[in-house]
Symmetry: C2
Subunit: 470 residues, 2 copies
């Protein structure tokens, strides 16, 4: 399947059934080969967590959270250690994944960092989503889990290319009724659970929510096993407040946060097991990542960015680099990828793999990663823009990252600093961003500034959707 | 090989050769089975690094240091995430590994933290080493690499149970002739290279030293393939000053420190490859770990403890918890072990596996880990004493760790603090030791103090060997 071009003609299953039985073994072999190499579009499963830290999985170095399913997925697939999100908070990060574009291009960032229950904005109809793109080439599509790109009907997944939706429309700590964020009692959060465009449960019972997302996903996979599908499973955990189903209470030596991650790991195992048992594993790419780094202010209820600096809400590495795994048996070359990738790259990569049309009428920020996934070639991505709200705080170009603005967020000593001379770090030598080397490399800073200015020159910035409220 | 008792009778190879050829296939099978399950003692290889951080391997979460051989070893074997050393600096840590005892019991710690070229002390003849124990049951033994348990003839490996020795007697930054620690020019360090008790090169050419240790180790394995052997390969890197052989210059995107780790990873790969090609893999246990955490004051020339706090010289987790892997195909149950273990446990574990006698005339601090390695049972270790010099700074009992004294070392603002109320951390919930929970758990502190007092009551403390100098 190297250098594949997917031919958009699907096997005619009925015609196959009408053939003489004696020919079946030979034909099954032929069909199977054709199926794998020419005719069958691969299924795509994107598993997206919420506030998962870079260091929270076993294979990414956590000593006490046990993630055997994700560890195995990483061994069998590609573990990406320099994989980024489009923003360090929820809404803009999800917009980047779903549209393959920086949120600055479509109004999905603002002074308000995310969408709230009183927001009236959301992802515009003019945007093209991954789901819409693959739907055009015959994919069944489902969104399961947290959406957070607008809760009003016109913004919901079913109006953005998904055949079905089952999940919560924004964060699990919203619609607060009583108590504070540290109160684990779920009635404090009156967040609704929706099926398509209807609220079916309110408040969403969060203790069983990971399990129900998993069951919904498995059902979707089984129902669509004879048809190409795209599943977007966006867990609303480990975002606080933390919940697990009964089977995972007090199972992790990391405490409640560990219980939650271990239930997500179980869920990943169930998805993989289903793909295998349905004979779909060799024709399905699974991507696992998260929307942004750990929410450190919640202390032991928040995750860990491992050796990366800081977490959610910031433009330090801990805020925007996520533990990422690509899995596709016999197609993706197993290994550790230290090249750069980003959630925005999933869109063009999926287009390449599925034969879907990659939008050409607008600036897209994603790059196709198939050459790295399938052919062991370098990643074509060389740059990351670290936005906070509508401003660029930092730019990575190759191994160097320049911080123009830094801000410590969610803390009492909230300070925003504009750096006259940017801070400069070599992320290869110094992944923890400890040693500012700006003084020694004015040339590098100058080059990064050119990269930034070129980016800015092409920006057409629409109004913020996030700042619109009742 | 579960619950094995090794029978100390070795196959008679000459008798085997004199049998009629027709019987060979049957006998080879029988012999092979007997070989594996009854008659053959397993070979033991202990690979010990110097100043390697908990977070410096791919499988322990480093994003840019590539360690494919160690990652694979961890996948095939057991990755221990709560594995400790006997002290957070070189000499006492090595004494603990080699004797299975806390250094406080044999004078291998002191006000001077390690042995220096002007020291006249060392590991006493009255101590029993792993090498001596396995030698008694017929093992060939070799020490390759850094010793640092005394450089005077009576203290050298060849007088402590090793048939041969090839390496440097103390740290690679000692015998400084000119320049400072940050000078990578190797002539600054007039450290000798020894074979057995003779100096064969001075200064030791450090650029090729990892390669030469590897070649020496491979030669030892090949020469002893028909005979049980114990190899102690103690790399003197990544202790500063850092060196690599030509092939590894500028190969790592982590820079020089990464080059060094990647050469050690290559070395591990060569050892494993040799064991496989010589048909010894299924009969050899390989242990990989290090003497203490990263020397953080050397910034990018030092390693990373990942999400663990602080590094070398301290009694925080980053100083004394090391990335540890046990490998033994078809014997050791693959998995991640979050239970506690310690380098001191290697001695009793090796005794159990080899049939060697475990010293019973003295207090030993190691516990036998074979039930965890071979039978998936919990580790019998429940306690860690964190000594700095001759004082207990901290004690871990189960998940709780109490700090009685803390000290930030190797820094300008060197401060030693005796805590009237100990600091208390839950290392499961809070592996980074961020959230002191002493106030809520006076009962836990009281219990830990009992554990410490019981330990102290049995101590008979000899004079320090480290404080003896010319």
């Amino acid at each position: 399947m190297k250098n594949q071009r997917i031919i958009p003609i699907r096997k005619n299953f009925r015609r196959f059934l009408s053939l003489p039985m004696a020919l079946l073994p030979v034909l099954m072999l032929a069909s199977c080969t054709a199926n794998q190499e020419e005719d069958t579009k691969p299924n795509i499963v994107v598993i997206f967590c919420d506030d998962l830290g870079y260091g929270d999985l076993g294979t990414f170095g956590h000593p006490t959270i046990r993630t055997p399913n994700l560890d195995q997925m990483a061994e069998e697939g590609q573990k990406w250690t320099n994989f980024y999100v489009g923003a360090s908070v929820c809404t803009p990060s999800r917009a980047a994944l779903i549209t393959g574009r920086l949120p600055i291009r479509n109004g999905m960032n603002g002074n308000r960092r995310v969408l709230f229950p009183n927001s009236i904005g959301g992802l515009q109809d003019s945007e093209i989503t991954i789901a819409e793109a693959v739907k055009e080439v015959g994919y069944a599509t489902a969104c399961v889990g947290k959406w957070h790109l607008g809760h009003l009907p016109e913004y919901l997944p079913t109006n953005h290319g998904f055949d079905s939706y089952f999940g919560i429309p924004y964060s699990n700590d919203m619609d607060r009724v009583k108590g504070d964020l540290k109160d684990p009692e779920y009635l404090s959060f009156n967040v609704p659970l929706m099926r398509n465009e209807e609220i079916i449960e309110r408040p969403a019972v969060q203790t069983t929510i990971t399990k129900r997302y998993t069951e919904e996903s498995i059902q979707f996979i089984k129902e669509n096993k004879d048809q190409a599908f795209f599943l977007y499973l966006a867990h609303n955990l480990p975002h606080i407040p933390l919940f697990t189903s009964e089977e995972f209470v007090d199972t992790s030596i990391r405490g409640l946060y560990g219980d939650v991650i271990e239930e997500i790991d179980w869920s990943v195992g169930q998805i993989i097991k289903t793909l295998r048992s349905e004979g779909l594993a060799e024709n399905t790419m699974v991507v696992f990542t998260s929307d942004n780094g750990p929410w450190l202010v919640f202390e032991q209820d928040g995750g860990s960015a491992g050796l990366l600096r800081d977490g959610k809400g910031t433009t330090w590495e801990g805020g925007m680099r996520e533990p990422t795994i690509f899995w596709w048996p016999e197609k993706i070359q197993p290994g550790v990828i230290t090249d750069m990738g980003a959630t925005m790259d999933i869109f063009p990569t999926v287009c390449k793999l599925t034969g879907a049309e990659f939008p050409s009428d607008r600036i897209m920020d994603g790059v196709d990663l198939t050459q790295t996934l399938l052919d062991e070639k370098p990643s074509p991505r060389n740059t990351i823009f670290y936005y906070r709200g509508r401003e660029i705080y930092a730019v990575r170009s190759g191994m160097y990252k320049a911080h123009f603005i830094t801000e410590n967020v969610y803390t009492k000593d909230h300070i925003r600093t504009e750096h006259e001379t940017p801070l400069l770090f070599h992320l290869g030598h110094d992944p923890s961003e400890k040693y500012n080397i700006a003084e020694d490399h004015p040339d590098v800073i100058a080059e990064i500034m050119i990269v930034m200015e070129q980016h800015k020159a092409k920006l057409v910035i629409p109004d913020s959707q996030l700042d619109r409220k009742k």
